[in-house]
């Protein structure tokens, strides 16, 4: 359980995080989402104890990060942005150093080997980190974060700079780790959050603009719902007038081209609207090519919250 209360952090006079409060229950994968420079990394650095908050408190399993940093550090695994590693060491040497630093003394060898297996690093023990590809460096970065089996994993943009295959592999690994750990990951890639997270915290300009499950956020954001119809008809102008007269709906938007037209109909009356529209179109010699309910995608929500909300940026 992570509890962040009124976290405030400024660099000099620049406030990077302003009055941020949230809770993360144990055993879930949480996505910290926000544009570059929104304050994601700052929040993560405060969670790991690397940066002291200017104000506010962070409790991890009831322990205050500022008061008991060494205890917090042994409960958390952290993968900083850009995966910094000691490139002059071999994979095994490096993981051995981490194991010792983390106090993994009993079964050190087995622990390192298990972690290497989990991260797909078997056979790479003697390779210099400098000689590894980006994807494998990322694996070493994850391996060092999970080596001491921490209850909490903090991953700062874990898939940045990887190719699509590597991204899928790392995501699988994170999903697997999320089964028995609390994972906080930051990203500005929306698909990542959709693919992994059961809770999302959207941050913009140092403030939380949305917090909840993806569905909750979409629900809160959706406002009025629309039905979008693509139709094929001989005269779209006549169709529009008839449509408005008969159904008492005035189509909001009309995208028109030679072969098809797109109507956006407000649908306050729920499912009944879709049904009557469908019947009406069929009865009036027009062809319905497509009909769908317009729900906000995470991308729409993201843009709405981080652009409209902070348009002074």
């Amino acid at each position: 359980m992570i509890q962040v209360e009124s976290l405030y952090k400024s660099y000099g006079t620049f406030p990077a995080v302003k009055n941020v409060s949230f809770e993360v229950p144990s055993g879930v994968i949480v996505g910290l989402l926000g544009p570059n420079g929104a304050g994601k990394t700052t929040i993560m650095k405060a969670l790991t104890g690397y940066h002291k908050p200017t104000a506010g408190t962070i409790l991890i399993d009831g322990k205050n990060v500022e008061e008991d940093p060494i205890a917090i550090k042994s409960m958390t695994g952290y993968l900083p942005e850009g995966v910094p590693l000691y490139s002059e060491m071999t994979v095994y040497e490096y993981l051995e150093f981490i194991a010792e630093a983390r106090g993994v003394i009993e079964h050190k060898k087995e622990t390192i080997e298990n972690t290497m297996r989990k991260c797909g690093l078997i056979g790479f023990g003697d390779v210099l980190i400098d000689h590894l590809s980006k994807g494998y460096k990322q694996r070493v970065g994850l391996a060092q974060a999970i080596l001491h089996n921490p209850a909490i994993l903090i991953l700062d943009e874990p898939t940045t700079g990887l190719d699509p295959n590597q991204i899928l592999e790392i995501r699988d690994l994170i999903r697997d780790l999320g089964k028995d750990k609390t994972v906080i990951l930051s990203t500005h890639i929306l698909q990542e959050v959709e693919a992994l997270c059961s809770k999302i915290i959207i941050i913009n300009e140092g403030e939380i603009v949305a917090d909840g499950s993806p569905e909750e956020i979409a629900d809160a954001m959706k406002g009025e719902e629309n039905i979008i119809c693509k139709i094929k008809t001989s005269s779209i102008d006549k169709f529009k007038v008839d449509f408005a007269n008969y159904l008492k709906y005035s189509p909001k938007k009309l995208v028109e081209n030679l072969f098809q037209s797109e109507l956006v109909v407000p649908a306050q009356s729920g499912d009944a609207a879709a049904e009557s529209i469908f019947k009406w179109i069929v009865e009036h010699d027009s062809i319905l090519l497509e009909m769908r309910r317009d729900t906000l995608s995470l991308e729409d929500i993201f843009v709405k919250l981080t652009r409209e909300g902070g348009n002074h940026a």
């Binding site: 002291k52 060494i70 550090k73 942005e81 590693l85 000691y86 630093a101 983390r102 106090g103």
Partner: protein, 240 residues
């Protein structure tokens, strides 16, 4: 202290992996040999005295130690491993002492690698073991002070080159302090203070074979002072 030893072992391993340590030892040996046997013309002196050897060491440390200590923190900051290190269960003490000991031990290894010079000396005559003991204590203390100063400078920058240059300038200044009273014909209290500040002033008494606790105290103050300042620097960095 156990945690510090983990940092120490990693650092020392890194020195030999890079392989800056080997380079350091080879250059150190070459430079010392050239100066000692050719420039100072040891054989022509026809004197079994280790003072020329021990008076050379500080000069080489002034030039070579900055090359060793420049990466200590500057590289960690540049690579980003600094953040990783600071989020592991190490205290500032573990990190600073571990790194300090690694550089210090490497300097001891470098000094030990030039042991052939004193050994050559033994072929020429009798030595006072007490004097040699004092001379070695002196150079060990000097090495410790250099590593501490170098580490402090490195903790204050991201650039290895700046760390190198600044450390070297600091060491040169500490070395030439004792010359200032001579240049300006100073006497009395001011000259005493300036002399006291100078590394040379204290090191020279060791080089002469004099073991004086006041001189040892000077080096201990410099070493612990800079180590403490480095710890503070890291600690305060968390509030940035």
């Amino acid at each position: 202290m156990h945690k510090a030893s983990i940092v120490f072992r990693r650092e020392l391993k890194s020195y030999f992996n890079v392989p800056i340590a080997w380079l350091f030892i080879v250059i150190f040996n070459l430079a010392i040999s050239i100066f000692f046997f050719f420039v100072q013309q040891f054989f022509a002196l026809d004197r079994a005295d280790l003072r020329p050897y021990f008076s050379l060491l500080p000069l080489f440390f002034t030039i070579l130690v900055p090359a060793l200590t420049m990466k200590m923190w500057a590289e960690e900051k540049k690579q980003g491993t600094y953040e990783m290190l600071m989020t592991m269960p190490f205290s500032e003490f573990d990190l600073v002492i571990g790194k300090f000991l690694a550089a210090f031990v490497l300097l001891l290894i470098a000094i030990a690698s030039t042991v052939f010079i004193p050994i050559t000396m033994f072929l020429f005559g009798y030595f006072d073991p007490g004097q040699i003991f004092a001379q070695y204590i002196g150079i060990f203390l000097f090495a410790a002070a250099c590593s501490a100063i170098g580490q402090y400078v490195s903790a204050n920058t991201k650039s290895q080159i700046s760390a190198f240059v600044v450390t070297m300038i600091l060491l040169i200044i500490l070395n030439i302090f004792s010359q200032i009273p001579l240049w300006f014909n100073m006497t009395g209290k001011i000259a005493d203070v300036i002399n006291w500040l100078s590394v040379n002033y204290h090191y020279n008494s060791f080089a002469k074979g004099v073991l004086d606790s006041r001189d040892a105290l000077y080096f201990l103050i410099i070493t612990t002072g800079f180590l403490y300042a480095t710890m503070q620097k890291l600690y305060l960095g968390r509030w940035r």
